[in-house]
Each structure stands twice: as C-alpha cells, then as structure tokens.
Amino acid sequence: MTAHIRSPKDFWSGLIFAGLGVAFVATARNYPLGSALRMGPAYFPTLVGGLLTMLGLVLIGRSAFVAGEPIARIGLRALILVLGALVLFGYLLEITGLIPAIAALVFVSAAGGHEFEFREVSILTVVLVVMAVGIFYYGLGMPLDLGPRL
C-alpha cells in the first residue's frame, strides 16, 4: 500500500467495521430483501450493514490523512489467559461439573494477573467454590452437577 497510515486506531477500527458490515450484508443476501412497502428479513440489516461498511471505509480513508495516536500495547498474556479460562470453564462445566470447572477457571485466569502464588490461588479457589455452590446450587437451585457425573 502506498498511502501511509497516519492513524492506526482509525485504520483498524475502520477495517473491523467495514469487514463486519460486508459480512452482514453478504449473509443477508440469502434472505428475501422485500421492498420498502413490505420489508423482508434482509431489508433492514442490508441498510444498516451498508451504512456501517460506508462509515468503516470513511475511517480507513481518514486514517491516511488525519494523524492519530498509536495503538497501546495489547496485553496478549491477560487476553489469552482470561479468555482461555472462560472457554475452559464452558467446556469443562458439562463434563467435570461445577467444582473442577471453577478450579480451572480460577487457576488459569489468575495466571493472567501480575502475581501468582499457588497457595493464595488455592485458597481463593476454595472460597469461590463455596460461594458458587452456596449461591447458585443451593440458593438459586440451578441444575448443575457439582462434580463429574458417574
């Protein structure tokens, strides 16, 4: 690309918006568009998605002319560990039950913090398990398995 990106924040957000806009408009082509008189399921999303794509392109265009701040460092470690802990929880919950899922969630996410001390995190896990079982299992009567179903 010959044009220089002077505002990376505008450029990347524009790319995300335009990309999602195009994705919605393209998907909407599978549904009947209808007419203004009888708006089909695709009518409104196509309108909104088209507008979003346009504005996304405006942001991309603007990024070549108007200077902006650089993007702050992405905290990849926290991002991966927090989201990983969440996915792990969702995956484990129906296999191993609530208690192991919470333990996994707490240990993995805590590793995303600044300090990680095994003893401290273990105590935290016990406290949170007691809270969760008390509130959600006994208090609210949620249909959860506490441990693996045998």
Partner: protein, 503 residues
Amino acid sequence: MSDPGLFHNLILGFSVALTPMNLLYCFIGCLLGTLIGVLPGLGPFATIAMLLPITFNLGPTSALIMLAGIYYGAQYGGSTTSILVNLPGESSAVVTCLDGYQMARQGRAGPALAIAAIGSFFAGTVGTLMIVLFAPPLAAIALKFGAPENFSLMLMGLVMAVVLAHGSIVKAICMVLLGILFGSVGTDVDSGMERFTMGLPELADGISIVGVALGMFGIAEIITNLELKEKREIFTSKVKGLMPSREDLKRSWAPILRGTGLGAVFGLLPGTHSIIASFTAYTVEKKLSKHPEKFGTGMIEGVAAPESANNAAAQTYFIPMLTLGIPTGAVMALMLGALMIQGITPGPQVMTSKPDLFWGLIVSMWFGNLMLVILNLPLIGIWIKLLTIPYRFLFPAILMFCCIGSYSLNNAPIDVYMAGLFGLLGYVLAKLDCEPAPLLLGFVLGPMMEENLRRTLVISRGDPSVLITRPISAAFLLIAAAALLLIIAPAMRARREQAFAEG
C-alpha cells in the same frame, strides 16, 4: 386513559415497595451497589449484567427494584472512597476527590461524608419526585405516538447518545450500527425466518443482552485492568465526628440546591454520564464562589454540589427509559433488557398496563436513597476494609460470576462462549477508542426500530417521506440532525484550521 390520580398512584407504589420481599431486594441492590461503588475496577454495568440472569426468577418488579438499587447505590458508594482515599470507585465521583480528599486530609472526612450523604439524599428525593411529576404526562404524550414517531424518536435517542458521547463521532455511530446488526441476529419477528444464526440453533432466539453486556463491560474490563500495574495506597485514618458544623451546613445548602437542579437536567440528556453533571456542578460552584482559588483545598461546596448533581442525574436518568422506552445510556439499556427478558414490552404503556411495577419501582427508589444514608454512614469502616482486597482476588471472582451467570441463561455453554467473544471484541474495540455503550444502545433499540420502520412503511405504502411529513416525527428528526450538525461543524472547523496550520 383514565387518570387514577397521583395520590392513588403513590399509595399503590408504597404498597408495592413496602412488601418485605421488595424491601429486601431494594436493600440487596443498594448494598451491592455500594459495594461495587467502593471497589475500583468493578462498575455498575458489569454488575447489573452479572445479576440479570439471577433476576429471571424474581418477577419483574423485584428485579427492577434490585437492579435500580445497584445503579444509584454505586453512584453513592463511589463518593465514599473518593473522600477517604482519593480513589473514585465510580467515574462520576472523580470530581468529589478534588475537595473531598483534601477535607479528609485536614481531618474533616466526617463532615465531608455527611454533606455528601445529605446532598445525595436530598438530590435523590428531588429526582424521584421529578419522575413522579413528569413521567405520567410524558408517557401520556408518548402513548399517542404511532410507528413513524416511535422510529424517529428512537433515531433521535441514538443520535443524541452518539453526539453526547465522548470520542470520535464516526466511531460511535459505527458502534451503534454494529449493535443494531447484532440485535438483528435470530428469528425475524415478521417472516419467522432465522437470520445470521450461522446454523446455530442456540442463536434462534437472538444474542442475549447478558452475553453482550458481560463481554463488553465485564470481561473486556478485566483484561484491560490486568494491563495496568496494581497500585493501592494503604490508608489508615479514622473517621471521627460525622456531624457537619453549622458553618458547613450554611455553606452547603445552596450548592446542594444548584447541584440537584443541574444534575436533574443532565440526567435527562441521552449519552451524558453523571460525570458531566457533577463536573458542571463543580465548575458552577467555583465560578459563583467568592474564593474560587480555594477550590481544591478542601472546600465543602466542592463536595456538596457534585455529589448532589450525580445523584439527581442518577434518578432522572430513569425518566426516558420508563416513559418512552428509550434507553439513554448503557445502564438503562440493561434495565430495558431486564424488562424484555420478563416478557414486558418497554414503552409508555408500561405505566398503565403495569402500574404496580412502575410506581413500586419509583417509590422504592426513595426508600433506597434512605437506606443508603443509613447503610453508608455507620458502615464506613467496613467499606474501607473492602478497599484493601487486591484486584488479583477480585477478578477471578468477577470472571466466575460472569461465566456462571451467562451459563444459566439457557443452561448451555454457548452463552459463556458468546460472552467471551464479545469480551474479545469489546477489548479490541476499546483499544481502538471505540466505546461499548453505543453498541449496547443500538443492540437494544435495533429490533424495535426495525419493527417500527416496517410498520411505518406499511402505513405509508412504502413512502419514507412520511417520517418528515408527520410533524412530531419531523421534529425529532430535525433535533437529531441539528445535534449532529452542531457537533460535526466545530470538528470540521478545527480540522481545517489544523490543516491550514500544517500547510
């Protein structure tokens, strides 16, 4: 509409709000609100989103009473830590730090807290009264609106929210549009066709607002917070002597009145956070003072005015949501979400079709404010202790509540993954200076706008000009256009000047 009279309505409200269960939920809400107001790094958005799934079992009135308590309780709790440890637990309490903390350093934390409490309670009472007085006539007008008016009103609401949000307008508009698109995922109400579900049967009912809110506010916030170095001062000062002196009261009553008035007006505007209300109130006091130079050194006016302002704003903030069904901020979007989850269509008809919910909620707000005064002052010691909980213990707990909460929506892991997906999106977009609140507004309003646009066009036989030929609808659109122009014009001017300067 037969008007049963204000008195009758209030009696109904009291009878609902004073049931032991509702008092309990109001209390729980205020307690939780204060708690999160005190704890930095956990805001009302994430908390309300976390509790939304739990409120499914409560019934709409109790659910809203509790969620409302969380919101205004947080506004209240934020001031305590501002004064005592110079740490605003809630963003709107930043202004209170300026003079409140200075007063605490001079050993006058007690009077500062007491004035903040008195001001907040007064403002909360006035704000609640304003809802009582203005909500019925507003709703009566809104009930006459047809589909074109509703569509234009929602459009205006979104435009105002964008205009008054801080940061780039284009990005805020994009966030609204993206929110509307996410809102359209699921079964189309008109044709019964499934849209954008990517073949996932779990998405047939649409993306849950809980997942969006938990992800964009709760999870994205955790990841952002973890990047910051944890720093917390250890604070061990005792609060002694709560009573403000006669001099304090004499200096405070006028700022409390002015702050309340300003806050009440700012609360009505879409998109303004109560921080603007408290900041404006502070600036006004400084301008009016005979000693503006002393502000920032522990002036009690600098505590009284902003604290009253943010609490008044927190109450009147409910008016557009309750009367028009238009959320003017993220918290109200969540409240609307809570209503819809309970099967109630938000809008002006709520007041007449569910008077117990409407008036019960309003009266409970006043009780909530009373509880906050009683709750906060004697328990200050406990709140301060809570501040010493390090974030490394808090965030796994928050994450756990987010996960279990989203799982409980359908007892399926898909909602947990959805929250994670929106957490990722929210985090990345926040890095690119895109605020999450407009997305949430678009998400909630999108389906209603589509429905009203569809009905408008059916009525007008496909002619969109009906939106500008019906006077009320045209007025809304005109206001929206004017607001948009007003905000774009100075920006363009500034950019032109900048270009000239560079040339």
